[in-house]
């Protein structure tokens, strides 16, 4: 930017904007109209080349336009044509380009020699990695290796990793099958949401769209600090509120007072874990006052009861979890009514600490037939030892009231990573999954994958692999001997970190870390592979509203840094099946010139006809994001007879579905309803994916159960961890942006003012926070941006110099296997 005159620069971009708006005004602008003026590598009068891309941080998926000159990013701007953000960014997005240019980018492969990471050549590093794969796979079989990936993988990377692990390694391993020990850090992020989607609707990911933010009039935020974690989306909620201040209500439910609470009309501060009791009370209220939608219940819902006392995954291998933990038993509506009858306001108030009057006020709002209600949540629900339960309870609320799959009405699980949906969930880079909601344990699903991949079905391992926590425990227990970490920093983000870091250092395990900067994970690696990041390679991300966004490779990576796909292919090339063929010959057969297109079109086959239909490569390359299902009028399925009844299909042979299951928007729903004349479907909503429960969504009966570790005399405080607006995840990128680092240079421990006063703690005092697993010192913040309830402290996890995860607990939800970073017991004292 320094070589450019800012004034000229702005003038030129204003000119292109004017052209764009002129084009837009020529006709009604529809989502999906592309604006070729400022993208696609066009060069403006200042010699700046403009391309489209998407923000590298959270799951909102804000579009950004990237201006480059001489292979360097000289400017970025919000993309007005991306419907997820309409051109706006948060302050992290403002500094996005700087994440490429940190001074300590990794540019050479490093191999640990005599305890020190030493520069090497790619050949040496790749030969070493391949020889380790050979050694471990031939000795220990497919169980001996693991890969820990990411919701920040591009879709291509995740898909390549999936094939590498689940198909490719089967050609080398002793047992002749691939390894399912592939899990993403998304396990720590939204696995509970996934489990609940699958158990409720039998199809993953939200039904709604960000447009709900404009259509709704009642917003429930459940343990979600959207003001800081999804700043651009929260800004839309506030706009909706400003436009109709008397009607629109924001109800914030949380364990600490945040910037959302500040803007809310009603704040319910509940004791950690008791969201279960509150959600059950809302259901109780709905049933008792007959506020449920009777027709909708009759047409579309089935009732099931869950198992109780399901454990916390505290013992290795989940030894404390009953085998039936995830079982759901069908019950009648009458039985369901009886089950929730005990969760009255008095009960919920006693457990949660929320006054009865506030509970009633919230219950009234969420069940009001004249209100359009949306629920939003993220980690508060997902990082929860009963996360699947609480997700399902919120679905139950929306299902009973029929407030679902309609503009402005629905439950919406937000995501924290740019491609948690697009890569981790849609590609299925989990220990139990394959693309498009298919799973390894079902033979028919393995067959689908084997057919698409053109490999023998026997190569795909039917045994579910070791999920994140068990994966890292297995390293400690000597069961996993080779771990490849890509685009993730587990040695900062794992709970009960001391155990896992110690294991990484002391156990016989070979750890490869592919990353762009030195992190706490590269510190324990045997080999560090320098990776290209973000726009240094072609990629796609999929955001929380099911929008897939493509970008071209825009700049070159520094030094010898290479794409993770290249890294995996090079290892696969070194894994010889016989004298002539390698693993790469079996799984990476794409044409070099059309590599990404070939790969995408192959991957896309999984989605077609399953109501998960992804758009073709050429469409994604052109458009500024396309929401799936992107349904063709007549391709895998013939929708011709219902096509005219679908909104926004005029003169189009494709439609992007904004509200799934709703026949007005979703051709699959319309078709399903047409094909089932014997049934009625209230409001034209059909849960056509729920084949295992007669195409009905599941309303779930489970009680409140306590957290895994509860404060006691010795450790009297709850510890909750999370993020701040300025930094993202482990800070490996944002802490390298000088401006963001200056703004928030270190993590602090947020303490309730009453507790602070009682203990004589002032802002800035150094506080030792101690749990059964370790201790860490943080400066105190009292009455700051986050004010925890009495008896709780909050600490963000971005700061690599003060690792809060050294004291967190590695318990997890027995159903989703997602750890609970929000609840463990600590004690605090002034240093």
């Amino acid at each position: 930017m320094s070589t450019l005159d800012r004034r000229d620069f702005i003038k030129s971009s204003a000119a292109s904007l004017a052209v764009a708006s002129l084009v837009a005004s020529c006709g009604k602008k529809q989502e999906g109209d592309s604006n070729a003026q400022n993208v696609g590598g066009k060069v403006d009068q200042l010699g700046i080349k403009w391309d489209k891309s998407v923000c590298r941080f959270c799951g909102t998926g804000c579009g950004v336009l990237i201006g480059t000159k001489k292979d360097k990013v000289v400017a970025t701007k919000g993309d007005p044509d991306c419907w997820s953000n309409k051109g706006l960014n948060c302050v992290k997005g403002y500094f996005l380009s700087k994440i490429l240019y940190g001074k300590d980018r990794l540019t050479k492969p490093l191999i640990r020699k005599n305890g020190k990471l030493t520069e090497s050549t790619w050949d040496e590093a790749l030969d070493l990695i391949a020889s380790k794969y050979e050694e471990v796979l031939k000795r220990d079989g497919s169980d001996g290796v693991a890969m820990f990936g990411s919701g920040q993988w591009t879709v291509f990377e995740g898909y390549a990793a999936l094939k590498f692990m689940k198909a490719g390694l089967g050609y080398i391993s002793k047992d002749g099958v691939g390894s399912n020990n592939l899990d993403p850090n998304a396990r720590m992020c939204m696995a509970s949401a996934v489990a609940a989607f699958m158990r409720t609707f039998q199809s993953d990911e939200p039904m709604g769209s960000y447009e709900d933010l404009e259509h709704a009039d009642t917003f429930f935020t459940w343990g979600a600090n959207m003001a800081e974690m999804h700043p651009v989306l929260f800004s839309r909620i506030m706009d909706t509120k400003m436009k109709n201040p008397d009607k629109v209500k924001i109800v914030d439910l949380g364990t600490q007072y945040t910037r959302v609470s500040e803007e809310s009309d009603l704040y319910l501060e509940f004791k950690p874990q008791t969201d279960l009791a509150i959600a059950n009370y809302f259901i109780h209220y709905i049933i008792k006052n007959k506020l449920y939608d009777k027709e909708f219940v009759d047409d579309n819902l089935v009732f099931k009861k869950g198992e109780t006392n399901i454990g916390y995954g505290l013992k290795d291998g989940g030894a404390d979890i009953p085998k039936t933990a995830g079982k759901m038993t069908k019950i009648s509506f009458k039985e369901y009514k009886k089950f929730v009858s005990k969760f009255d306001a008095k009960y919920a108030s006693k457990i949660s600490g929320v006054p009865v009057a506030k509970l009633e006020e919230a219950a009234k709002l969420i069940s009001d037939p004249n209100r359009k209600v949306c629920s939003y949540w993220t980690m508060g629900f997902n990082q929860h030892t009963r996360g699947t339960w609480v997700n399902q309870l919120v679905y139950s609320i929306h299902l009973l009231t029929g407030k679902i799959s309609k503009p402005g009405e629905g439950p919406f699980s937000l995501t924290g990573q740019p491609s948690a949906c697009g890569t981790a969930r849609e590609v299925g880079t989990f220990v139990h999954r394959l693309p498009a909601d298919l799973v390894v344990k079902v033979e028919a699903h393995r067959k689908i994958a084997a057919d698409i991949w053109k490999i023998p079905v026997e190569k795909i391992n039917p045994k579910v692999g070791k999920h994140t926590i068990e994966m890292f425990r297995a390293i400690d227990n000597g069961k996993i001997k080779l771990l490849w970490v890509q685009v993730a920093n587990p040695y900062q983000s794992l709970p009960n970190l001391n155990r896992f870091t110690k294991a990484a250092m002391e156990k016989d395990v070979f750890i490869v870390v592919s990353d762009v900067y030195p992190t706490r994970s590269t510190e324990v690696a045997d080999v560090v592979l320098p990776s290209s990041m973000w726009i240094e390679k072609e990629g796609m991300f999929g955001n929380a509203e099911r929008r897939t966004q493509h970008w071209d490779k825009i700049v070159n990576a520094p030094g010898e840094a290479k794409n993770e796909i290249w890294q995996m292919i090079e290892v696969a090339k070194r894994l010889k099946i016989d004298s002539k063929t390698t693993v790469a010959d079996k799984i990476f057969t794409y044409n070099e010139k059309t590599f990404y297109k070939d790969m995408w079109e192959e991957y896309r086959l999984f989605s077609l006809g399953r109501a998960k239909d992804l758009a073709p490569y050429d469409v994604l390359r052109k458009e500024h994001g396309v929401v799936w299902p992107y349904v063709a009028k007549n391709d895998k399925t013939d929708f011709t007879d219902v096509w005219d009844g679908i909104e926004n299909t005029e003169a189009n042979d494709y439609v992007s579905v904004k509200w799934r299951y709703n026949a007005k928007y979703d051709p699959y729903a319309a078709k399903f309803i047409k094909d089932h004349p014997e049934r009625t479907f209230k409001d034209g909503i059909a849960f056509y994916k729920a084949s295992k429960s007669d195409y009905c969504a599941t309303v779930f009966a489970v009680p409140y159960e306590p957290a895994a570790e509860v404060p006691d005399k010795k450790y009297p405080f709850w510890l909750c961890t999370g993020r701040v607006l300025e930094h993202w995840h482990t800070g490996s990128m944002t802490m390298r942006v000088p401006e963001l680092r200056r703004a928030v240079p270190r993590a602090v421990v947020n303490i309730n003012p009453d507790d602070a006063k009682r203990m004589g703690i002032n802002r800035g005092d150094l506080i030792r926070v101690k749990s059964r697993r370790g201790e860490v010192v943080f400066p105190a913040d009292v009455n700051g941006r986050s004010v925890p309830q009495k008896g709780m402290v909050f600490i963000p996890f971005f700061d690599e110099t003060r690792l809060v995860n050294q004291i967190t607990l590695d318990c997890y939800d027995p159903i989703s296997k997602e750890p609970d970073y929000k609840k463990c017991a600590v004690t605090i004292e002034k240093v």
Partner: protein, 215 residues
């Protein structure tokens, strides 16, 4: 930015009726320059009379926020001052600088640091302020030690996207202590929010504003 430039930065503020921990000095012609004193500093002429240049407040500041004036700084040699963009005042509850002061240059009656008044933060660059441009920044708001009191957010519609909200940071000068943490944290190269000498004009007694009627 050069430290000298920073100190010499000229501003157009009225010098009438100023009290508190800051001072104007005339260096070059009509260029007016100001600098800021530690919390509890008395009115500048009294401060200069009382301060014995012992440097004890500087020594006891745990964050090195306080510096000693040198000839080069154009500040009375040996007197303490703060550059907020460099290191702001982190508002220690026990106010060690005042405790260390052997004279009356710093007001020993000041017990609550939140009542101190080193200056007042002002959104000086409304055009470049990221928050006012709709970027979800508001760093100044969130880092303010008097959260949601000294700085609050006023909401306006985002006129370009028509779908978002502009969160405007508004400083309340009665509450702002002028600690400079916001100025320090502002992510722009030249901070859009800066601490200026507090203006203490007579409050207009002849009219009561609507917001005052409400409160």
């Amino acid at each position: 930015m050069e430290r000298r430039d920073f100190i010499k930065r000229s501003v157009a503020v009225s010098a009438i009726g100023l009290t508190g921990g800051f001072s104007f000095i005339s260096l070059l012609g009509n260029n007016k320059t100001y600098y800021f004193r530690p919390p509890g500093a008395v009115e500048e002429s009294q401060f200069l009379a009382a301060c014995i240049r012992c440097g004890k407040c500087v020594q006891d500041c745990p964050y090195d926020s306080l510096k000693l004036g040198s000839l080069e700084d154009g500040i009375n040699i040996g007197t303490p001052y703060i550059e907020f963009r460099d290191v702001p005042c982190y508002m220690c509850a026990d106010i060690p600088c005042i405790a260390a002061c052997p004279t009356t240059a710093l007001n020993h009656d000041l017990k609550d640091i939140n009542s101190s008044n080193m200056g007042t933060a002002v959104l000086t660059d409304r055009e470049d302020c990221l928050s006012l441009n709709g970027i979800r920044c508001e760093i100044c708001y969130r880092v303010c030690p008097l959260t949601n009191k000294a700085i609050t957010l006023t909401k306006h519609p985002q006129s370009i996207t028509k779908k978002h909200t502009v969160f405007e940071p508004v400083v309340h000068k009665e509450i702002c202590t002028g600690c400079g943490i916001c100025e320090n944290a502002c992510p722009l190269d030249t901070p859009a929010i800066t601490v200026l000498p507090t203006e203490r004009g007579d409050k207009a007694a002849h009219y009561i504003l609507l917001r005052e009627q409400q409160s």
